[in-house]
């Protein structure tokens, strides 16, 4: 089993063997899975309280859905997330807070009110993002999108070797972030399933994830209820949890460290089971045959 690296998020440090649950908290009215359930700020705060209670290690707050849709400018994005991050930070002083944004302007605003991690889900579309992370001592997720424009769907994209493209892109972004002043142990790499990838690509990335976890950087995977799971099993959104958890187990076995998810309890159980099998975590309690 390969391993990522030591990971630092906020004031916390995690071993390469750690498997962390990053709970998705959408400040959007239209995200594909929850369809606006935490659009209202109070509902979103309630969701944060719930996922923390359920054992999430960090939350990922986003103000714009990934899929194409109504244009959300930086001002509106900030209206959706900045005050909210401030409230979450105030209510949960020790919680690791990630914000899903590709805009350095938004990143700067959320870091100023306590965000610990910038989840650049669109692969460095804004080249200034690492500067902001460096300035605030924040962590940064670098993602592979194949260079597509934010909020576009992949259409007829091919790679000679998708994993090679992912590896090359992520290493370049990660080293660039470090060169721009982001602490090495605060850089996370994410192959970004389904971003700039069809189902075949996402499956290959999953199958060969060890080629990424062996690079020495902590690896984040975002699998939750995505289309590659749906197309693999011919299941619509809402019926993809089992498939998501199976993919989660495979990535966990390959050594991914952070899991961006909708369902915290189920993911926590899968990750703990994999950690126990891998010998990274003792079982909860053992008596059978031993009393």
């Amino acid at each position: 089993m390969s391993r990522g690296g030591v990971l630092r998020l906020g004031r916390r440090e995690f071993a390469p063997s750690a498997r962390l649950v990053m709970a998705i908290v959408n400040r959007t009215p239209d995200s594909f899975y929850d369809k606006g359930v935490s659009w209202a700020e109070d509902a979103a705060l309630e969701r944060v309280r719930m996922v923390v209670e359920q054992g999430a290690d960090l939350v990922d707050i986003g103000g714009i859905k990934a899929a194409p849709g109504a244009e959300i400018d930086a001002e509106e994005e900030k209206r959706r997330v900045v005050g909210f991050v401030e409230r979450v930070r105030s209510e949960h002083p020790d919680l690791v807070i990630s914000v899903d944004t590709w805009r350095s302007e938004v990143a700067r605003a959320v870091c100023a009110v306590g965000a610990d991690l910038i989840n650049d889900a669109w692969g460095g579309a804004d080249p200034e993002l690492p500067t902001v992370a460096a300035e605030f001592g924040a962590s940064l997720v670098c993602t592979h999108t194949g260079g597509v424009t934010p909020r576009t769907r992949p259409h007829r994209i091919e790679y000679d070797d998708v994993v090679d493209d992912v590896r090359t892109s992520l290493l370049r972004q990660a080293e660039r972030a470090v060169a721009m002043g982001v602490e090495r142990e605060r850089v996370v790499i994410d192959p970004a399933h389904d971003f700039g990838k069809n189902t075949w690509h996402s499956l290959e990335v999953t199958r060969r994830l060890d080629e990424l976890t062996s690079l020495g950087w902590p690896v984040l995977v975002s699998l939750s209820n995505k289309d590659f799971v749906g197309e693999s099993l011919d299941l619509p959104v809402g019926e993809r949890l089992t498939g998501t958890l199976a993919a989660t187990a495979l990535c966990a076995w390959h050594g991914a460290q952070v899991y961006r998810v909708h369902e915290v309890v189920e993911t926590r159980q899968v990750l703990d089971l994999v950690s126990v099998v891998a010998g990274d975590l003792p079982p909860a309690r053992t008596v059978r045959g031993l009393a």
Partner: protein
């Protein structure tokens, strides 16, 4: 001259390698360690002789679980293991008696730590499932300890104990034979519990 005999369980979950994130044996281990430590302190001794049974389900080549558990508990109690007497778990009483008499001669004055359990058939969920006969046999075993009666321990029936998965009969009989004739033998404390269908005993006996 050490005067104490301590009985401790041989349950593998007392060992660190079998402990989960929540330690199901924490209280039992603490009680056993305290018993060994207190007895050694009272006797003014730093070393003990372990009396253990071989494994009933021997598969590999490691020393018997009873020996490993006893050594671990002794280590936690801060005493060394000077010698180990390992008796076949199903040894005939005559063999136990002979071994005990030999032990009385070779290790006279040593503190004994007997690693021994009662029946593993004390409930529907017990390792050996429920056998109602277990309670009477365990009661007899505990009564023998509480009255510090070596002859009562030597009277335990090997076949019945084997049927009931009593893992401590043979080492207790070895110890009983070693203790026979010690003046003023009495029980200081006898604790028994069976939360997992196995009778675990922590007992301290002393002589004058």
């Amino acid at each position: 001259m050490s005067r104490s005999v301590v009985v401790v369980p041989s349950a593998p979950f007392l060992l660190p390698e079998y402990t989960g994130r929540t330690d199901a044996a924490a209280d039992l281990r603490a009680r056993a360690v305290a018993a060994v430590r207190d007895a050694a302190a009272a006797d003014g001794t730093r070393g003990v002789v372990l009396v253990v049974a071989t494994d009933r389900e021997q598969r590999g080549t490691r020393p018997p679980l009873g020996q490993r558990v006893g050594a671990h508990l002794a280590g936690l109690a801060g005493v060394s293991v000077d010698a180990v007497v390992a008796v076949a778990w199903d040894a005939p009483t005559a063999d136990c008696r002979a071994l005990g008499e030999q032990l009385a001669r070779s290790s006279a004055g040593s503190m004994l730590v007997v690693v021994a359990d009662g029946s593993a058939r004390r409930g529907e969920k017990a390792p050996g499932h429920l056998d109602e006969r277990a309670f009477a046999v365990d009661d007899a075993l505990l009564a023998a300890l509480r009255t510090a009666d070596p002859d009562a321990l030597l009277a335990l029936d090997p076949q019945l104990c084997a049927d009931l998965l009593v893992h401590g009969r043979a080492p207790l009989q070895v110890a009983a034979a070693a203790l026979r004739g010690r003046p003023g033998l009495e029980a200081v404390d006898v604790h028994a519990e069976d939360p997992f269908g196995v009778l675990h005993v922590v007992a301290t006996l002393t002589s004058s």
